[in-house]
Symmetry: C2
Subunit: 292 residues, 2 copies
């Protein structure tokens, strides 16, 4: 999807947030802002939001000399995920439908996102997990996803954020059948998106083959991904996409993709018939049918 | 005061709002955004917010070929003000301290501002007026202001927004003494700031001499005002400044100025020891003492 015009103030806000991850010196940030605004002004604003915003994040990392501004926040997310994992695992184990239950925790975990909202809000995190079992799922394609995975030889999961990745592991553990599972991470740090290091922190290598997508975009822009990743993306029997950034970059893709996410933006919600805060399990096929 | 870095996303948001006053065609707005972002990127971000944002408003008015995008909203504000004026006048007339009461309605009227928040929210407007008599005034300099006006030969009131101007008239009607009163309006339309036409709509000419400040900035940047206005500003015995835009451009001015406003921005509140939503009656003298 292309960026909405309402994304533009949000890009600037997110730039500020990223700068503040590195420095509290407002004068340093102020001095960098003209460069960031100029970059945005020369960027094709019809690109998906993750593609646009990745360009300012690149400048911030370079100019403020920090290759991974969200590292501390990512580690905090991982610690929190580990803290919450025991009760999630228990509930999944005791559930009559463990796959459905694991999908729900994978969505709950999607709250560990610092692109949409930067501050660590303990209540917001806890409320997301408390909702896990009772929140209605919008366009609930869980059964369809289950059947497809059951028959698949290869499943590609597109990771979203650090910490959240732990709940992706719990979900992969409940995949039916015996497909080989790949877990795609970002090629290098961008916002708090999951990288190989973050995936290893939550033992994703125990259940999946971790693969880099080769890009530093908080979504999956195939044009910027490695050939190896693109090949896998093309050939995998099932693709499961986590989070809003991946949705924004892949919702119009021609192949079947299942999307699992929380809707964190009023504009995106409005344009797609969702409500901000919705928990969604949909697919490109389902999106197409809804739009016809 | 100089712009905060947090003003920058807000400038972009306000640009979008202004564009939407003129067109609902998102592609037209999207096409204009690079120009607005480039203008911001080349603007001195140490200038006060009204000075920065006036530059994008100029481009919007020119490029979208509309000299007064907020005209409809200003007329709506004026109608609402007229509707609310009867009960305000009654309460002021019955009050034991009519000047204090009129100050309160002048602050209540400051809710009719479409720079900080663009949508017309009837509840927000009504709540502001319902609060008029009970809301505590921060740094309450009402008595000092009264004494100064009582002794003055000339009083200059710096208007803020259309509609709100009606309540400035009610306040001027309760000025003690017999000073000649000037009411400053913007030289040409910017956001919903009060112009001569808007002031005449609420009969300000019956109680004051309406004078243009000669500028199209949603505040009072003396460097861009007419010589005639600057002379008056310098020589007036008392200057009363309405609203946040005038505060942002004059709070560090060397002369004594009384400020009457609602605080509508968390950053401005935070840096000045206020809380967002505070109703403030302060002065440059008082601000200096508080900062020492």
């Amino acid at each position: 999807m292309k960026s909405f015009i309402d994304c533009i103030p949000c890009f600037v806000r997110q730039s500020l947030d990223a700068c503040r991850m590195i420095t509290s010196d407002e004068e340093i940030i102020r001095a960098l802002m003209p460069k960031l605004l100029a970059e945005l002004s020369s960027t094709d604003l019809t690109m998906p939001p993750p593609a646009v915003v990745s360009r300012v994040h690149r400048i911030i990392r370079k100019e403020l000399n920090n290759s991974d501004p969200y590292r501390k926040l990512k580690k905090q997310s991982t610690r929190k995920a580990l803290e919450l994992s025991k009760s999630a695992e228990d509930m999944i184990a005791k559930s009559n439908s463990p796959f459905d239950c694991a999908v729900r925790f994978a969505i709950a975990g999607n709250i560990l996102d610092f692109g949409a909202k930067t501050d660590w809000n303990e209540d917001r995190v806890m409320n997301s997990f408390k909702s896990a079992m009772k929140k209605p799922l919008t366009d609930n394609q869980v059964t369809g996803l289950y059947s497809k995975i059951e028959m698949a030889k290869t499943v590609l999961v597109l990771g979203d954020n650090a910490g959240e990745a732990l709940f992706d592991r719990l979900l992969i553990e409940k995949f039916p059948g015996d497909a080989k599972v790949y877990y795609a991470v970002k090629g290098s740090p961008v916002i708090n998106d999951v990288t190989e290091e973050d995936a290893l922190d939550v033992n994703l290598d125990k259940v999946a083959c971790i693969i880099s997508n080769g890009a530093d975009i908080p979504g999956t822009m195939l044009s910027e991904c490695s050939d190896e990743f693109k090949q896998l993306f093309k050939e995998a029997d099932v693709v499961v996409s986590k989070g809003q950034g991946n949705f924004e970059t892949l919702n119009e893709n021609g192949r079947e993709i299942f999307f699992i996410l929380q809707i964190k933006c009023a504009s995106l919600a409005h344009r797609n018939g969702y409500t901000e805060g919705d928990w969604v399990v949909t697919s490109t096929t389902s999106l197409k049918e809804l739009n016809e």
